[in-house]
């Protein structure tokens, strides 16, 4: 694994770790025994880390969720499935690369897998449009949803998007109606739908793949009606207040679980998925396999009704 890019709030950790390295070198060079000092410092570093990562502020989680080395949809595909075959295109002119879909086995169960894809390099990010789909991406997903339904295959979606792309062409070909139709059609699907938000789950662009029987979030993922930057620039008149907006919007997995917006949280390694992708894959796979097994107990009618009831209950009302 290449060196992990450090986030601003992680600086204290890296500073301590640098110091430990320094002491080790000093010890080696000078022959002075610094073992106990190093041990103390290492312990302190561990404590500090735990404390930091277990008390992340919302905007710090967002930075982890957006980390350039965070596993992408295709990483999950590669590591939790077998027999993957990508199925391209909306059959109407476009193969939007920001939403990728296909068929594969998870723990021997064939499923249709659909996810938003981000890149790790500039070139990849341009190919995948930074994980921001056009309407044609949602239409590709819808085509594959219906394919899954015809062949009685469960659907798993993996979501990590800053939102649907706000562009001219996207308006022209119906960003709004494409998302709306996915919400509608997902409500009607006769097969189990499992959605996992692995990074950014922003706005209608995320929801367009997330009307599901079970919705999970990675521990450091966030799920929100608007990006904190967007919210801050409207309500605080300045995008720089994104951290405040992130607090106010209550975008973290624990709150959303508490409010029954999501059905479970998938553990991440300390510091975030990118510190131990393998562990993240295992954790995510286990949750999905369990959900698949649970949902396989329901018949078509039950799948539709429980999905409906879930969303019917969402809202915070008086009177």
């Amino acid at each position: 694994m290449s060196k992990i890019t450090q986030l601003p709030f992680e600086k204290p950790i890296y500073d301590i770790e640098d110091k430990i390295e320094e002491l080790k070198m000093l010890s080696n060079e000078s022959g002075i025994d610094l073992t106990s000092q190093i041990e103390t410092l290492t312990k302190q570093a561990e404590e500090f880390k735990k404390n930091l990562y277990n008390n992340l502020k919302p905007y710090e989680r967002i930075q982890i969720a957006r980390h350039a080395m965070r596993p992408t949809f295709l990483d999950y595909v590669k590591n939790i499935t077998t027999d993957w075959l990508e199925l391209h295109g909306d059959r109407a002119g476009t193969d939007d690369r920001s939403i990728i879909g296909g068929i594969a086995r998870i723990d021997n169960q064939p499923v249709v897998l659909i996810g938003t894809q981000k890149g790790k390099t500039t070139k990849e990010n341009l190919e995948y449009n930074f994980g921001m789909p056009h309407p044609e991406g949602y239409r590709k997903a819808l085509r594959l949803f219906k394919h899954a339904e015809r062949f009685d295959l469960p659907i798993v979606t993996i979501i990590d998007t800053p939102g649907a792309y706000p562009g001219m062409k996207a308006e022209e070909t119906g960003q709004g109606v494409a998302i709306a139709e996915n919400l509608l059609e997902m409500a009607k699907l006769k097969v189990p739908i499992i959605a996992v938000i692995t990074g950014e789950g922003c706005s209608g662009g995320a929801l367009g793949l997330a009307v599901a029987n079970k919705v999970y979030m990675l521990e450091n993922a966030y799920y929100t009606v608007i990006t904190p930057e967007g919210c801050a620039s409207i309500l605080w008149n300045d995008a720089a207040y994104a951290d405040k907006a992130a607090e106010a919007l209550r975008i973290t997995a624990d709150f959303l679980l508490e409010q029954n917006i999501i059905d479970g949280i998938i553990k991440e390694p300390l510091g975030g998925a990118h510190y131990d992708p393998e562990l993240t894959f295992v954790n995510l796979k286990n949750v999905v396999v369990k959900a698949l097994s649970e949902l396989s107990q329901l018949n078509e009618q039950q799948l539709i009704e429980t999905r409906y009831d879930k969303y019917r209950a969402m809202g915070a009302l008086n009177g």
Partner: protein
């Protein structure tokens, strides 16, 4: 003041204003003179109002509030409002520069509504239907828990009573102050439309100035028939956001009703004076034995 009383009062005013020269100035009825944003003409407010708030010189459609809309399209004395008292619980205890609570209070003062939508059952040109009208003046017509709940309940009643549904949208999008609860109303209303589809009941949406964001990306564009009111602008993302993203000026007609018609996203454009007849006609054309 409930809708019924308001309509009653309004009609009284209208009648009285016909005889009295010193017209009462009323926040809702408007000022004595109305300046047209489009052609600049200064017109007697009464003339504009009697013309459905459409400029008598150039046909410009002024934005109207939800009560005015109901007065215009629903047959006299047939509208029965439902669920007027549903209010948001402020689940996030949201606060930016102001609290959500204070914004709600201001919006209530301005509109005398508990949230940005009025729902009810009424007749349009004799056809009974479930009707929802969004109120842009209430926090930009934003969709939070109340909008989602009231639309869902309206659809459930429509299914129960086998009525067609017509919704007049006007919204800037999701209500940020309700965070994820706001986003979930997109799913919730779409699920309700799914049930309506299954019941094979006609669903008409009328996109009025302006309709954007979460409403465009959920129940707003799920109509079996989508009508855009003349002069309305609509879209998913806002014009400024797009211009910032693509670093390019957008054409003048971008996101107008005409643009959406040309790009296949609305079934038709209606001027305000056509709406009643077209809606009723659509209902009859989609009903057996009519």
């Amino acid at each position: 003041m409930g809708i019924k009383e308001w309509l009653h009062k309004k009609r009284e005013q209208k009648n009285s204003s016909r005889t009295i020269n010193t017209a009462v100035i009323d926040d809702e009825v408007g000022k004595l003179w109305t300046k047209c944003f489009n052609c600049g003409a200064n017109l007697p407010a009464k003339e504009v109002e009697e013309n459905l708030h459409v400029c008598t010189k150039c046909g410009y459609h002024f934005r109207i509030n939800a009560k005015e809309r109901i007065a215009q399209v629903v047959d006299l004395a047939t509208f029965e409002e439902i669920n007027a008292d549903v209010v948001s619980a402020d689940p996030l205890q949201f606060k930016d520069l102001k609290t959500y609570k204070s914004r709600q209070k201001d919006a209530f003062e301005k509109t005398k509504l508990n949230d940005s939508i009025i729902t009810g059952i009424g007749k349009i040109n004799g056809e009974k239907m479930a009707i929802a009208v969004m109120e842009f003046a209430y926090m930009g017509g934003s969709m939070g828990s109340v909008v989602g709940e009231k639309i869902t309940r309206l659809i459930e009643i429509a299914i129960e009573k086998k009525l067609p549904v017509v919704i007049f949208t006007s919204s800037g999008g999701a209500r940020m102050q309700e965070g994820i609860f706001s986003l979930m109303q997109m799913a919730k209303t779409s699920c309700a439309v799914a049930k309506l589809n299954k019941a094979k009941l006609l669903y008409i949406t009328v996109l009025t100035e302006p309709t954007f964001g979460g409403v465009t990306a959920s129940f707003g564009t799920l109509g079996d028939i989508i009508i855009a009111e003349q002069g309305a602008r609509m879209g998913f993302a806002g014009r400024r956001v797009i211009e910032q993203t693509i670093r390019q000026k957008l054409p003048a007609d971008f996101q107008t009703a005409q643009y959406f018609l040309k790009h296949g996203q609305v079934d038709m454009i209606c001027s305000r004076d056509e709406l009643k007849e077209v809606i009723a006609n659509l209902v009859r054309l989609h009903s057996k034995n009519k």
